[in-house]
Amino acid sequence: MNKPIIQLVDICKEYYGNQVLKKVNVSVRPGEVHALVGENGAGKSTLMNILFGMAVIHNTGGFSGQVFFDGEKVDITSPKEAMDKGIGMVHQEFMLLPGFTITENIKLNREITKHNVISKILGEKMKSLDMESMRKDARKALDTLGLDIYEMLSVEGLPVGHKQFIEIAREIDKTNVRLLVFDEPTAVLTEIEAELFLKAVKKLASTGIAILFITHRLNEVMRVADNITILRDGEVVGKLAREEASVEKMARLMVGRKIDRIQKTEKKSNGSIDENILEIKNLKVNMPGERVKDVSLEVKKGEILGIGGLAGHGKIGIANGVMGLYPSSGEVVFNGDKIKLNNPKDALSKGMAFVSEDRRGVGLLLEESIEKNIALTAMQVQGKFLKRIAGINFALTWKIRAHARKIIKELDIRCTGPEQITRRLSGGNQQKICIARAISLEPELLFVSEPTRGIDVGAKKIVIDLLLKLNQEMGMTIIITSSELAELRSICDRIAIIYDGKLEGVLPPDADDTDFGLMMAGGHGKAKEVS
């Protein structure tokens, strides 16, 4: 057994009083493929940020614990330092320049240069690029990965899979690289590409490079990992060698926790519980990064339906598609009425509302007042808060203010008043305003995407309670899309799991952890349908 190349010892980190890593220990040896497995928000990214000395860590008060690299205690304060030490990272979002060739991208800012007449006078920067040597290096790196693609092609228009390979090729081309971190590398790959990729990882490891592999595709873990560390809520909940691991076991460790099933009071009867309020047929949504390939789903009146799944599989695309924010096709029937797709106004005016996952981008007018944010959609779509004077619809400031005050009180929004601009509010209060805006429409059906992302624990509970209240007291049908399975399981009546843009299955909230884990990892061939 050789010495570990990297050791993370007792790492703790908190963001604004929120403990995100609790005494985490991980170590990787040269030639080892080490998988780091966990749900979204389990603390994997934070761990990597610490490893790379990202500014965000230092700006938020640093961390406690120790990092050993090659047996020495190190203090990495910038990504550049990490790179110099020989730690490479393959990013989830591509750091590729589309106008450059593959070779140029692989050699970005590490170009091989040679002297010419001018550079001898004017210095280093005037050196010509030695395209031939660069090409050879690139070829070599691509060959290592087993990627048979012409290295002088422009990156623009290449399939995503190839882009991922080019990212990796760039890292392994760095001569000193000793530890490579892959952050969910296969998330965007097709099955065949993933296959190729896994082979390449094996090959790399055999050259003596240590590999830290972050993923939640469990069967891939089984294929390549030598050792597995499972994180949950910032804690290491399991360390397994491959021999002792199984997909089921990992799935249970990954999602399993005490489910705080919130006790529901008796629902207000709102027509027949078996009546479908929404029917989605063969929905396809072209949302970048969250593409929906073919989803059919039925939603019962008065229920809370959860939509779960891992990031990038299209769960978020469903609500966005139905509400007309991204180009979509298929059929959506709401209350027996066919909804015009790609037309937000139609969806809104028929009685649906949407709280977007992109709070600051889509959900809020950051420079405007709280009251305006709350009232705007209802005013535009339903003509609320307006009075017609001389042919012009004027907004009634006092009516808006009264409404805003009422909602601020009801939802307990912490602010200086209805005129405060929303940029200054905390994430939780911003989220409440998004919900307030949606419920100002008094919708029959409410889509909520990632309602608790990026807000603190206390606010999370308030938001969840609020949704529950809307459902139970006002009889609103609610569809929650969330990456936090536990959250879904705590309030939903049913949970649909999306995998690879398609519906993998629908489970009751109290179904087995293993079933959830397997479905999310795409390993569940036949979905268990509950109805």
């Binding site: 750091m95 800012n109 240069t113 920067k125 005037m126 690029l129 012409y150």
Partner: protein
């Protein structure tokens, strides 16, 4: 996807046999060319005259248009700040005229003298543009106006007023300030005359074209060096460039400095051909017309090549030569011809910009729907 498949697909994309698609992609130059031909037919102009006019104008303006390429590649958009380069050249020209250095040696001295000035101006422009990321174009335009004030201050009050000037021929009678016209007697055709071909009315300043060609090659060479690679990288994506350890701000300043130097030399070539410096007016047209030329050649605010610059200069000046003639023939009244020319020229520039923006939107949509 199999490698071979990708290769053939790439090939297909590059060698799209569909002429229609090619035309659409080059819609701006095509529209321009068609307009020019129609104009020429209406104007009934003598072909040799057209040819010689276009040739001379190309010689005068090409380098100025080239000076726009580097900032575009670096993602700064169209640099209206090349006006400052022109100013640097004119300051050098006045100095050399004042010292009465003539001929090609005078030209070389002027070219050398304009370099430190343009480096300084370019550095300032670059710093200002770095503070106005995303608004580079309008900022560089306003910078031009501002610099014009300083320029007038220098030429009207400082020279002769604070800095004593010995040579009185270029000074106003009062001794303070430079005359509004300075004849560049010693420098006229300094470059053109080294080698030139004359045939009837047609004069081709071969040497000037050689110099321009050398500069074009120099730009090409520069873009292939390490520095060029970094400039292109900044132009493609500032964030990625930053992340891969490139000093983005410094690269942007470098690009502006290079552009300013080229503009200064371009203005020198321009003025040595014209032979007369309008002290307070010669630099004004520089930005607007160079920008118009390169856009017409099919360049965009994010992509520009030497070829586009050449094509654009050719088309733009053809249009400017032909349209007043055509206008006059068409409407039969000289002043209406003049307005017609301005209407068509500016309209087509606006239209070509519009077509670019529209194409880009179209492309984004197509990409989305793939």
């Amino acid at each position: 996807m199999k490698n071979a498949e990708i290769k053939t697909q790439q090939k297909r994309m590059q060698f799209m046999p569909d002429i229609k698609k090619g035309l659409i992609r080059n819609i701006v130059p095509v529209v321009f060319a068609v307009l020019c031909i129609i104009g020429a037919c209406i104007a009934q102009a003598r072909p040799l005259f057209l040819l010689s006019s276009v040739t001379i104008r190309m010689a005068r303006n090409l380098l100025l248009v080239f000076s726009l390429i580097i900032p575009v590649v670096t993602g700064l958009g169209l640099n209206f700040g090349i006006v400052l380069g022109a100013m640097a050249a004119q300051i050098a020209l006045v100095a050399v005229t004042h010292w009465e250095i003539t001929g090609i040696s005078g030209f070389i001295v002027t070219a050398l003298l304009s370099v430190p000035l343009s480096i300084f101006f370019g550095w300032l422009t670059g710093r200002i543009l770095n503070r106005a990321k995303g608004n580079e174009m309008i900022t560089s335009m306003m910078l031009g106006f501002f610099a014009n004030g300083l320029y007038q201050l220098l030429f009207l009050f400082v020279l002769g007023g604070i800095i004593p000037m010995v040579n009185k021929t270029i000074m106003l009678p009062s001794g303070i300030g430079i005359k509004n016209t300075v004849a560049l007697r010693g420098l006229k055709y300094a470059l053109d005359n080294v080698i030139k071909i004359e045939y009837d009315d047609l004069i081709i300043p071969i040497f000037t074209f050689i110099v321009i060609a050398v500069m074009a090659l120099a730009i090409k060479f520069l873009l292939q060096t390490k520095l060029g690679q970094e400039l292109r990288c900044v132009g493609q994506d500032m964030n990625i460039a930053e992340a891969s350890g490139i000093d983005v701000d410094k690269m942007r300043i470098t690009a502006v400095i290079l552009s300013t130097i080229l503009a200064a030399w371009g203005q020198l070539i321009h003025l040595q051909n014209i032979g007369i410096l309008q002290t307070y007016g010669s630099h004004e047209q520089v930005g607007l017309f160079a920008v118009a030329s390169i856009l017409i050649g099919g360049a965009t605010v994010t992509k520009a090549t030497i070829g586009q610059a050449i094509l654009g200069t050719f088309l733009f000046h053809s249009l400017f030569i032909i349209s007043p003639m055509a206008g006059q023939k068409l409407v039969g009244e000289p002043q209406v011809g003049e307005y017609f020319r301005a209407f068509v020229a500016y309209g087509v520039i606006g239209l070509s910009l519009g077509l670019h923006a529209w194409q880009k939107q179209q492309a984004a949509r197509n990409k989305f729907e793939e």
